[in-house]
Structures are given as C-alpha cells and as structure tokens.
C-alpha cells in the first residue's frame, strides 16, 4: 500500500483511530464529554479528509476497496449521520445511568463498517464491513441493558446472524461458480454465470433484504426499533440502511443483476410487498417507534423503485432519497429521544407511545413543529425534503416505464398519509386536563440536541425548496461504472 492509498483511506482510518483513542481514554480516565468530543473530532477530521481523498481518487486500494466518488459521497452521508447520532446520544445518555463512553467507540466502528461496505469491491470487504457494522449494532441496541434493549439486541443478533449466513452461502456459491470475488471480474464472468450463480445471487438478496428490512425479511424491524435506545434506532434507520443500500447499488449495478428477468421480477415483488405491507401494518401501531419502523419498511420499498429503474437517473434518485430520508428520520428519532415521556422522571421511559405526544403543540411548540416537519417529509408533502425525494423516485420509475411500481408507490404512499397525519393530529389535540402534563417542567432539553434539531429542520426545508445544489453534487460525484 502506498502513501496515496493511505490518503484515500483516511476517511475510514480516522474514525477507526478515534475509536482506538477512545478506548485508551476509557482505560485512563472515563469522561463522557471527552468521549463525545473525541468522536465528533474524529468524524470531523474524516469529513475534512473527504476532499483530499477525492483528489487522489478514483483509486483501487488493493483489490478489496475502491475509493471513488460514489464511495466518498456515501461515506460522507454516513459520517454526517454518525455525527448527528453522536450528539443526540450525548443528550440521551445524560439521562441514563451506567457507563456511557463505550457507545461512542461502537458508533465509530459501526460507521467504519458501513463506510467499508459502500467502498467495497470484493466479497471479503463487503462481508467484513457488514459484520463490523452488525456486531457493533448488537451491542449498541442492547446498550442501556434494560429488558427491552437486551431483548431487541438478542433478536437482532439472531436474525442478523442468520441473514449473514445466507449472504455467506450465496457468496460461496457465486465464488464456486466463477472463481473470483472481485466485483469487476464477477461482472465480466457473470454474463456466462449459470444457474448456481443465480442461486448465489438469490441468497445474497435474502441476506441483504434482511438488513434492509424488506418484506418478507422485515420481522425484526419493529422490535428492534422499539427496543433500541432512540439515537441508536436513528443510527439503525440511517447509517445501516445507507451502507447496505449503497452496497446494493454498487454491487448489483456492477454485476448487472437487473439483466436477469427472474431477479427483476423477484425484486419487483419484494418492492411492492414492502411498500404496501409497511404502510398497512403501520396503520395499527400505537407506538411511535414501531410506527416509524413499519414506515421505514415502506420507504425502503420506495427506494427499490429507483434501484430497479437503474441507470444514472435511478442512482441519483436513490442517493437523493437516502439523503432526504436520513435527514428526516434523524430528526424524527431525535425528537423521540429528546422528549421525556410525560409523567416520568428523567431517565425513565422514552416518549414512544402515541399518547405521549398528545398536545405537544401547546406544550412545546418548537419541538412539535420539528416533529411535524419530519412527519410531513416522510409523507412527502411539499416544502420538505421528502417531497422532492419521492418526486425524484417517481420520476426515475416513470422514466424507466416501471408503471406498476410507480403506481404502487403512489397508492401505498396514499395509505401512508393516514398514520403520519394521525400522529400530527394527536400533537395538536388539547391535552387531557392534568393527565398530559409533564411532571413539573423538566430541565430544558440539552442545547446541543436543540441545535441539531434546528439544523435538521433547516436541512429538511432547504432540500424541499432548493434541492438543485445537492442534486448537482450527486450527479457530479455519484457515478457508477
């Protein structure tokens, strides 16, 4: 590996180095603030190194990683989301007893894992990135070690391990057939790939479908979303999805998966089922985190439309949507993690029942406003990022004449409106006298979290009103061979 290789890898090396530093810091002197600052500094430095890496790219760093515009852009999204999650976690963990510093270490390593995934050009790096991400997530989900956390962590561990096994078996079959594990050579050899190769790809889809929580591999999602602490849920919903979807775009784009009619048909079915099942199951939820979990299933279904549309338009649309969705969902879980449940002392239950939000508009207009904006964005109402994002997806779908998928998207997001609206409606209902009041006026939520939420709100509106700069940036950098 040459010096240039190292410069290209800086965006991944720096967070890893920060994680090691935090470990040393913990062993010398535990300090929550210092751990958080180290984390932010590490991510900041990594983000600063992105242009540097871009200057030397695109570059193949050994056969395992490729640092190109696509990888760097996705790493950028991952870093930004991790940065925000770290700040939200700081606010959240102050309410929770126990040791806090390890969480940052795990967050950083998980971000490295996701980054490796989007930059991978080889099964080995794909697998190691995925596994690094998942292993950190097991611990992160169970982090506060309450009953729900442990249960969610264990469920995620079991299902993620099973899905990883499928993924591995699929890879092994592909390798057995073609004799190589590099994406570019797979693409060349794949054209002649026989039926075992296709079976391998099918198993790969099962494995990645689990991670993306697509129907019918979605069962873990609501439990994990509900059981994990809110900032970690935000992390699962953004970084892990961005990482896996980035990988999906790169890998399947490169091996020409969409050329196989069966695969295309299979993925179309998965997309439609995800859109409808997610939205329909969300209708009956009483828990906000579960509701958002089901909504995320449907959103991943929407994203598959752009993936299936393929081509530069599909890639751009999917990338834009991932950014818009990440910004939105970070805001939503930021709110969920920031508001203490009414009638609970600090450190108690999270405000995750829909009833906890009753009258929020009158109690905390500012937070309620941010939450409403995120919900409108998820529903795809104008002036929000979600609107432009959904429009872009529809555009990609229509542009490739995927009318069935496009219409399913339209119809299922019509269903989705209902539950987002119900939540917003609850927020401006008059609180039941006394019952909805919070026990005392709890200490003002941490200013850092407020600042982050304000920034996210700005981003949601900015992307909804003037998305042209971001779209241009995506079109310039995110290109797949």
């Amino acid at each position: 590996m040459s010096g240039q290789d190292f410069i290209c890898l800086l965006p991944l090396l720096l967070p890893a180095a920060a994680a090691v530093l935090i470990m040393l810091e913990i062993s010398v002197y535990r300090s929550h603030a210092a751990a958080c600052i180290l984390t932010l500094a590490g991510i900041g430095a990594a983000a600063a190194s992105l242009p540097l890496a871009a200057a030397y790219g695109p570059r193949q760093v050994t056969s395992l990683l490729v640092i190109d515009g696509f990888a760097l852009f996705y790493i950028g999204i991952i870093l930004a989301a991790t940065f925000i999650v770290a700040i939200l976690s700081y606010a959240y963990l102050r309410r929770v007893p126990g040791q806090r510093e390890e969480l940052y270490l795990l967050l950083l390593l998980a971000a490295v894992g996701a980054g490796v995934m989007v930059a991978s050009s080889h099964f080995a790096s794909l697998f190691m990135g995925l596994e690094l991400l998942s292993s950190c997530l097991f611990a992160l989900i169970a982090y506060p070690r309450g009953r729900d956390n442990i249960e969610a962590g264990f469920k995620y561990l079991v299902l993620a391990s099973v899905s990883t096994s499928f993924l591995l078996f699929g890879m092994a079959l592909v390798y057995a057939q073609l004799g190589t594990m590099e994406f570019t050579r797979l693409a060349a050899a794949g054209a002649t790939g026989g039926i075992i190769y296709q079976a391998g790809l099918g198993l790969l889809i099962i494995g990645l479908g689990f991670k993306l929580a697509l129907v019918p591999f979605h069962m873990w999602t609501p439990d994990v979303y509900q059981g994990a602490p809110a900032p970690v849920t935000a992390f699962v919903a953004t970084v892990s999805k961005v990482g896996v979807f980035g990988l999906l775009l790169r890998f399947f784009g490169q091996v020409g998966l969409l050329g196989h009619a069966h695969m295309f048909f299979l993925l179309t079915l998965i997309a439609i089922a995800s859109m409808f099942a997610g939205n329909l199951l969300a209708l009956r939820q009483k828990n906000v985190k579960r509701l958002l979990a089901y909504s995320s299933i449907s959103h991943l279904g929407y994203l598959l439309v752009a993936f299936l549309a393929g081509g530069p338009l599909g890639t751009t649309a999917a990338t834009f949507y991932l950014v818009a969705y990440s910004v939105t969902i970070l805001g939503a879980f930021g709110i969920v993690g920031t508001i203490p449940a009414p009638g609970e002392a600090a450190g108690g239950r999270e405000a995750d029942a829909i009833d906890d939000y009753r009258g929020l508009f009158w109690r905390r207009p500012w937070l309620a406003g941010v939450f409403a904006a995120t919900l409108f964005s998820l529903a795809g109402i104008p002036l929000t990022a979600g609107f432009i994002g959904k429009f872009y997806l529809l555009d990609a779908g229509a542009g490739s004449s995927l009318w069935l998928l496009t219409l399913s998207l339209v119809a299922s997001s019509g269903i989705g409106l209902y539950y987002y609206l119900r939540l917003i409606t609850v927020m401006y209902l008059r609180p039941e006298s006394g019952a909805g009041e919070e026990a005392g006026r709890p200490a003002a939520y941490p200013w850092a979290a407020s600042l982050v939420l304000a920034a996210l709100l700005m981003a949601i509106i900015w992307l909804g009103v003037y998305p042209a700069p971001l779209i241009d940036a995506i079109r310039r950098t995110v290109t797949l061979p």
Binding site: V20, S63, L64, L106, M128, S135, F138, G153, A176, Q177
Partner: protein
Amino acid sequence: MQITFYISAAVAVVATLAVITRYNAVHALLYLIVSLLAVALIFFILGAPFIAALEAIIYAGAIMVLFIFVIMILNLGPQAVRQERAWLKPQMWLGPAALALVLMGELVYLLFSGGQSGQSGAPVGAREVGIALFGPYLIGVELASLLLLAGLVGAYHLGRRGDAAVVVELEEAAARDAEAPAVSALSAGQTEGGDAR
C-alpha cells in the same frame, strides 16, 4: 481417499442432526464438536490443512468452550432437560423441517442441474494462505482487528457487573476467547492491528 470424505460427511451430518435434536445442552455441544472435527477432516481432504487445524483449535476448541462456560454458569441441570423436552414437542419440527427441506431441495436441484462442476485440486498450504492474507487481503486483516475490538468492547459492556462473581469471570473469558483467533490466525496481524490502535 474419497471414501474418507463420504464417511466424514456422513458423520458431520448425523452429528449435526443430533445437535439440534438433543434436549441436554452439553450433549448437543459434544455432538457439535464431533461434527466440527468431521468438517475439519474434510478440510484436510480438500487440501486445506491450515484451515483444518484452525477449525479444530478455534472452532471446536475455543468457541465451544465459551458455550460450556455459559451452560455451566446458567447451571442447566436435569430440570432444564425436562423443560426442554416439554418445549420441544415432535410436531414443532414439522414446519421448520419442511421449510428447510424445500429450500435444500431447491438448492440441490440447482447444484446438479448446474452442469459444469469442478473438482478439488492440489492442496493450498499455510504458506500461500499467509502470503495472500498479508498481501491483497491486508485490509481484511485490519478490519478483522477492528471487528475483534468491537466484539471485545461490546461483550465487556454487555456482560459487565452481573449479579454473580462468576459472570465477571466469564466475560473475561469471553474477551480472551474473542481475541483467540487473532492470536493464532492473525499472529502477525496482531502487531499490524496494534499499530492501528
């Protein structure tokens, strides 16, 4: 030589079936070790002696010891076996077995209708494996070290401060064992990883 392959394969399958059907966890574990050793033998036959050794030492050795520890801590005695027997009614196997058989059938069909099939060739020894590991796969080694760090910290955090002193001991064992593959398989990689830290 082929006959040894078939015998080992048969042993592996039978032992594995026994693993998932036992009521007593320790028995299941012993069967799993048998199965892993059979697989190690197959690795040897396939010309991967280094991997065969790893399978025996780390998988059948270190990782299985972890299970033993936990089973001992949880003190799963005859009562647990009775309970397990009550939980695991024969009819509970119907669904999973059918599902697994269907999937298996499909895969077998695909494997045999796939046509062109290769054969195992000359053995690939530890030397080649080591050269590849610290050549093109260097980044993979680094990632493995990060993965182990994550496992270490995660297991430490989750297992910490239980209600019994034994738990603390166990978590230390877990941490040690999590490092074990690194020590043996990545012995040189350890210094690499150490630098990165």
